[in-house]
Symmetry: C2
Subunit: 120 residues, 2 copies
DNA sequence: TCACTATTTCGATAATTCCGGAAATAATGT
DNA sequence: ACATTATTTCCGGAATTATCGAAATAGTGA
């Protein structure tokens, strides 16, 4: 991922409504949510929501697909992952001694197994 | 980390000069760089750089410390880590089945130690 | 104190973003 | 074709951000 693309994504997420939208869509993977449902859920006018969705879409953080009358939006978790990866690479670039503990502390986010830091 | 703080950080990084600044500072940990050095390195006027540094500072992504005549800035990697963690939590919230592979794919960034298999 | 260096603050302008009312576009069913 | 529903586009105003010249502040050394 290139800087320009990452900046688009960071800017897209740096706004509370859009952050909420992405949160909500991530939670509704893989079904997605229609634009109107998003507007209703977050109590935002449809046209305002539409422009926010356009920003997220330009940033490639969400995808849109027409489904009957509705347009269903989905979070693009792969793209989101790319952004996180980009940030970490930026921070770690050639400095594993810094990134190492970061990744380690990161892991508890979604512990596949561990319950305590009984590691050694 | 709360949303508001995260949004400040994302917004701070969503600008090319500031992203470059953070990159540069991360690479110059733990010594840091003086404001003037940053301005020179990125070919930006001092006052412009100063306002960018203020934004990064408000977002807690950098710290400043006077050192003689200069003010030396340092990347706050802990704060950066918090932002990344926040993003991942937002994405994974209650959905390890999504976050799991994400973390796994993330690990190759800086593999400090042999990773164990997720799941079993 | 004075001169010098480093950085920030002030102030102004241009550009961008956010918001939402109103109108336009698109799909569906009759 | 028409009415209905879902969403977007158009438009304008308010707020915020980016940029940078000029002036102000802070530290250093003679």
């Amino acid at each position: 991922m290139e800087s320009e693309q990452a900046i688009l994504a960071l800017a897209a997420l740096a706004q509370s409504t859009r952050l909420d939208v992405f949160r909500l869509l991530a939670r509704h993977e893989p079904e997605g949510l229609a634009a109107g449902d998003l507007a209703r859920a977050l109590a935002v006018p449809q046209n305002t929501m539409s422009s926010h969705l356009a920003v997220l879409s330009r940033a490639r953080l969400v995808t849109a697909r027409r489904h009957g009358r509705s347009i269903v939006y989905r979070a693009d978790l792969k793209a989101f992952q790319s952004v996180v990866l980009f940030m970490l690479r930026d921070c770690c670039n050639g400095r594993p001694e810094i990134c190492g503990p970061l990744i380690e502390d990161l892991t508890p986010c979604c512990p596949p197994k561990p319950r305590r830091k009984a590691n050694a």
